[in-house]
């Protein structure tokens, strides 16, 4: 694994440089350790671990170095989302200059912008570029009318279904939730070892993504005006368990257990992220060639919805070389770089034009099928208090799911918590 070696080397070099800087600092009266560990002038990119060979990204970065005449170094983030968030918060609160371009999870832009940690990048996104982006990713990086990060790649929840099981029962892929429930009943009556619909119901961030999709696809939202429809969405979520469409232990399930259950043929429908597709189509997969995907179903009269995930690139407000950092962020999020990353890693780009790209469609045949899903993708509440709000959302949605709380009561509690966070 080259990325791993890079990091150790980097670590060693940093220690050596730090020691050197310390002794120099002692001579020079305490200055000189500020830039320890980085080549002078290098722009540092922080990004999550890549799923695959790091060479395509390095090739991209080398191209930028030649064209822009600046050095670029990259370093991976810690593995878990909590650690990444904490890493950024600790460093940025201390006005760190250790990195210039930072990859942000879909839910962090408003928080970091409000804290003053991100440069305003509105001028880096021309009108025609904004028109090319899907609305969800653009909304996720917009805070108080300004853009604080550039969408890098997008993820969204979608429906996986077993084409063979549906065909055996002469059923079409579901368009509405009622279709899905009817199909699940028809198939599970005939095959008792198959679950109807599995999704992520453990009390964690994934439950928020799933529950919001139920809420939105019933025409609801978390604002007060949307409460009646939102309550219908949550009631539907609960009814999946009581009607035996979804097993009761959905309250323990995260992405991987549901992917594994569906992947070994144990479920008719699955809600998951796009990553699962490649695993279902592997040569040794029992469901290979028997999986279809579509946008998640919706209630009659409401639009389909998907929760947005993915990554965005922001620029550290304390970066000593903001111009070069902004150029790197813009370069990596422009169509050519996004295409290269999509070709190499299958990452789904957030811009519509690339879904009409013939070369990309030939190399990644799954990508065009994501277009409708990403078109429907919506960000979780864009708020500087999102992380705190999410803890309330997780607990309240979980309480509805286990039948401890009525949907209306949960939504009222969420409204109170959101209002309290705004006051704080």
């Amino acid at each position: 694994m080259r990325a791993a070696t890079d990091v150790t080397l980097l670590g060693r070099r940093r220690v050596a440089l730090a020691l050197g800087a310390l002794s120099l600092g002692a001579l020079a009266g305490g200055c000189g350790e500020r830039n320890a560990g980085r080549a002078p002038g290098a722009v540092v990119l922080r990004h999550p671990k890549l799923f695959g060979d790091p060479r395509p990204l390095d090739t991209l970065l080398a191209g930028f170095e030649r064209a822009a005449g600046v050095h670029v170094r990259r370093a991976t983030l810690p593995a878990s989302s909590d650690e990444q968030h904490l890493f950024y918060a600790i460093n940025l609160q201390a006005r760190s200059t250790e990195f210039d371009v930072l990859a942000l999870d879909a839910i962090w832009a408003a928080e970091f912008a409000q804290a003053g940690w991100l440069r305003d990048l509105s001028h880096r996104l021309a009108a025609e570029e904004r028109a090319d982006l899907f609305p969800g990713p653009l909304a996720a990086v917009t805070w108080r009318g300004r853009v604080y990060a550039l969408p890098w790649f997008a993820d969204a929840g979608l429906l996986y279904y077993r084409t063979d099981l549906l065909e055996r029962h002469h059923l079409a892929p579901p368009r509405t939730w009622d279709d899905l429930v009817a199909a699940a009943h028809a198939v599970t009556r005939a095959a008792s070892d198959v679950h109807g619909f599995v999704w992520q119901g453990k009390q964690y961030e994934g439950l928020v993504c799933n529950a919001l999709e139920f809420v939105w696809s019933h025409g609801g939202g978390l604002d007060e005006a949307d409460v009646p429809a939102a309550a219908r969405g949550l009631a539907f979520m609960r009814s999946l368990v009581t009607a035996n469409v979804t097993p009761d232990y959905v309250t323990t399930l995260t992405e991987e257990p549901t992917r594994v259950a569906f992947g070994r043929g144990g479920a008719l429908f699955l809600r998951n992220w796009p990553y699962a597709w490649r695993l279902f189509e592997r040569a040794d997969s029992p469901v290979r060639g028997r999986v279809g995907v579509s946008v998640l179903p919706h209630a009659p009269g409401a639009a389909p919805a998907a929760t947005l995930g993915g990554w965005q690139l922001g620029v550290n407000a304390f970066s000593p070389r903001p111009e070069a950092a902004e150029r790197l962020a813009a370069f990596l999020t422009a169509a050519p770089a996004q295409k290269a990353l999509a070709l190499a890693y299958g990452y789904s780009p957030p811009r519509r034009s690339l879904y009409a790209d013939a070369e990309l469609a030939a190399a990644q045949p799954f990508l065009p099928r994501l277009r409708a899903v990403l078109e429907a993708a919506r960000p979780r509440p864009v708020s500087p208090h999102y992380v705190a709000l999410s803890q309330t959302l997780q607990a309240e949605f979980s309480a509805v799911l286990v039948g401890e709380r009525a949907p209306e009561a949960a939504l009222a509690a969420i409204g109170r918590a959101a209002a309290a966070l705004e006051r704080r």
Binding site: Q203, Y249, S398, V402, R405
Partner: protein
Amino acid sequence: MKAARFESAPFLAPAAALLAVVTAVPMAYVVWLSLEVRTPFRAPAFVGLDNYLRLASDGRFWNALWNTAYFTAASVALELVLGLAVALAVARAGRTRALVYGAILVPWAIPTVVSARMWEWMYNPETGVLNYLLGARVNWLGDPTWALHAAIAMDVWKSTPFVALLLLAGLQGIPRDLYRAAATDGASAWTAFVRVTLPLLMPVILVAAVFRTIDALRVFDAVYVLTGGGPANGTETLSIYAYKVLFQTLDFGYGSALAVAMLAVAAAATLAYARLLREGAA
């Protein structure tokens, strides 16, 4: 006397300094933080007891406190009873004792996160061994009434060996003569247990209870790996709540207040045990 105290001061100083640096100063700092508002968005500001007032009206805090107290009471009680039973059995094991020693220590030796994963698999409703053996379909970790008990069961499995080991050491400290004397007086095995073993073992039992109570009050990894605090916050303990506030929300002021509250609970429990120990000695 005064002179002796003065002379001893330099010898005590290193220990005192070490304690101050690693315990007193960080603790004082946490208390100080708990009197401040500290979030990513605002300059730190002193707010007096505001965080504690917020704590008093925070339903989630009382829920976490209840979960922690329930977890502690149930797990410590079970561990003491089972640990005593195991210790009494092992004390009679004779030549196989070394083997038994090793066997009972295994759960204690496995890292908590690893054993929590193991239990997570055993608790799996479809593929787990527990439901297979019981022939049932219990949603152990996903049902609000079962989840906390499932976590307690894992903690009991893990920590009973520790209690057993401590009590075994205590049992071996009881002079054999007392049992012979009791037998001579015609005491039954039960009477000897109640009149000889238990009273003489009581100081060790209390020490084991103190250790286990403080550990159980701080429980984090076992529950966090099993359930993450859910469902419906049904297994959210004080540590998990504090972790989420400190390391997810980054609300260091309120999180510190939670930590101080935990400290207060642990201190109260320790003082209660200390009083019991003193009464036992008197």
